[in-house]
Amino acid sequence: MIKTEVYEQALFETVKRGATEISADVKEAFEAAIARESNPDAKKGLIATLNSMEMSAKRENPLCVDTGWPIFYFKVGNQCVLEGGFVELENAARRAVAKATELGYLRATMKHPLTGYDPGNNIGMNIPDFTYQFVDGDSIEISYAAKGGGSECFGGTRHRIVAFADGIAGIEKFVIDSFVASARAGAVCPPSVLGIGIGGTANVAANLAKEAACLRTVGSKHPDPMFAKIEEDLYKALNSLGVGILGAGGDTSVLAVNVEYAYTHIAGIACATSTNCMVARRASSRIDANGKVTIMRSPNWFGDR
C-alpha cells in the first residue's frame, strides 16, 4: 500500500516542478526554434523566454505569472493500492495545490465564475480537475498540467463537427482557421503546442485535444501514418504563417502539432483543438507499490509518444 504521506509529498513536488521547471522536450523545441529563427526580434524573444525559464528552476518561481488551471492526470495500475483510496488521493492533490499556492509557486488564479470570489488557494467546485486512465500493474503515474488562461480563453480551444463530406480537408481548414484567429496578437501565447482531437463526442474530442496538447512528448509522432501525416502537414502549414512568438512575427508559430483520435459516429467527425502556451507546463512522477518515487521525463499518457 502506498502511504498518504508518500503520495501527498509526490503530488506537491510534481505541482512545484510543473510550475517552475521547463520540461526537457519543450527546452529542446525552444533550442531548435532559436537555431532556425530568421526574425531578429523573434529570436531575441525566444532566447529571453528560454533564459527566464531556466532561471525559474534555480529561483524556484513560476515559469509564467499565470499558473493556470490546475489539472491532474492519474495513470493507475489495476492493482495499485493507496492508503485512504482515491478519495484521499484527490484530497491530497487539493492540499498540494493549496500549499503550492501559499508558497508562491502558484498564483491564486481560480475564482468563482459568477461572483469572482477568490478562495486564495486555487481550490473550488470541480477544481482541480482529475482524469484517470487504468492500466495493468501496481504503480501510479501522476501528471500535473497547468493550463494557462491565454492558451484556453482566446479561441485556442474550440470544437466543430466536420461532415464526412469535408473529410481531412475540412479538419485541416478548421484547425488552420482556428489557430490563425486565436494566435492574433499573441493571444494564445504562441509558439503553441497544438493538440487536436478527432472523433468521439464533442467532449471526447475536446479531452483528446487537451491531452494531446498537455501530455504528448513534444517532437513525438503519432504511430499511425495517416495521423502522423496530418501532424506533419499542419506543423509545416502553421509554421509558414509568420505568426511567431507572441504573434508579432517570426518563423515558429507552433512547437508541435499532436493529433489523437477516437472512433466516431457515422453522422460526423467531432474535431477539437487545444493550444498549450509556449511554456507548456507539466510534470510527471511515478510511485511504485513499495513507495519509491521516480521523476518521469515525459507523462507516458499515450505510451511512448
Binding site: 529571453a48 523566454t49 518561481n61 513560476p62 498564483r107 463530406a165 499573441g186 509545416k236 504563417l241
Partner: protein, 207 residues
C-alpha cells in the same frame, strides 16, 4: 524601428515620437489593473482611491506578490491580455489620463481612437520572461487589496528600465497587429493551397 528609453510620468512628446514596431524600455511609476478593478470603477461607479497624475503608465497584469518580513516581494510578473478589457479601454485612457498601457495582445478600435485623441500608446511584450523583468520592478504600494483581492488589486510599481516592449498602437491610431494580419492572411491562403485546400473552402452546413 527605433529603440527608446522612457521615464514616467510620460508627456505627449514622449509618446508622439513612437511608431508601431519601435521597442521601448520604461522607467518611473506605474500601476496595475485587471478586469475586476475596471468593473469596480467604471461599471460599479466607485471612485479610484488614488490619483493617476504623475503615474500615467498602466500595466494590465495580475502579479504574484508575497509579503516577507513585512516587505512586499514580487515573485512573478507578466503582462496579461489587454484585448479582454476593450470594454473599458477608452474610458481608462480618458479618465485616468494614461500615456501608455503595457499589456499582452493589443486593444480594439475604440481604445485606439481614444489613444489617438488623448496621445497614448499600447506596448506589448515579445517574450514570456518574468525573471528578466522582476528585478526591474520595485513594489511600492497596493490599493483595493481588501476589496478586490491580491491579484486584482492596484499595485504601485516603480520601474527601472523595464522592457523591451514593442509599440503596437501608436498615437496616429496605427495597429501593428492589423498590419501583420494582412501578411498572415496571405500566408494562410498559400498554406491551404499547399495542402490542396481551396482558400474559399466552404464547410458542409450541419446546423
Amino acid at each position: 524601428m527605433a529603440e527608446y528609453h522612457l521615464t514616467g510620468p510620460l508627456t505627449d512628446a514622449d509618446v508622439e515620437k513612437l511608431n508601431i514596431g519601435d521597442m521601448v524600455y520604461i522607467s518611473g511609476e506605474a500601476f496595475t489593473c485587471r478586469s475586476r478593478l475596471q468593473k469596480y470603477i467604471f461599471d460599479e461607479k466607485n471612485v479610484l482611491p488614488f490619483s493617476t497624475a504623475g503615474r500615467n503608465i498602466l500595466i494590465h497584469n495580475g502579479p504574484i506578490v508575497i509579503k516577507e518580513n513585512g516587505q512586499w516581494r514580487l515573485v512573478s510578473f507578466m503582462p496579461t491580455s489587454s484585448i479582454r478589457f476593450e470594454k473599458w479601454g477608452a474610458q481608462s485612457v480618458d479618465q485616468w489620463d494614461l500615456k501608455m498601457i503595457v499589456g499582452k495582445t493589443t486593444m480594439g478600435k475604440e481604445t485606439a481612437q481614444m489613444m489617438k485623441e488623448k496621445k497614448c500608446v499600447h506596448v506589448s511584450p515579445r517574450s514570456v520572461s518574468p525573471n528578466l523583468w522582476i528585478d526591474s520592478i520595485e513594489v511600492q504600494d497596493v490599493y483595493l487589496y481588501d476589496e478586490l483581492g491580491r491579484i486584482e488589486a492596484a499595485w504601485f510599481f516603480k520601474l527601472h528600465e523595464l522592457g523591451p516592449f514593442i509599440v503596437d498602437i501608436d498615437t496616429k491610431g496605427q495597429n501593428l497587429f492589423d498590419r501583420l494580419d494582412e501578411q498572415i492572411s496571405e500566408n494562410k491562403d498559400k498554406a491551404l493551397q499547399e495542402l490542396g485546400i481551396d482558400p474559399d473552402f466552404q464547410f458542409t452546413k450541419l446546423y
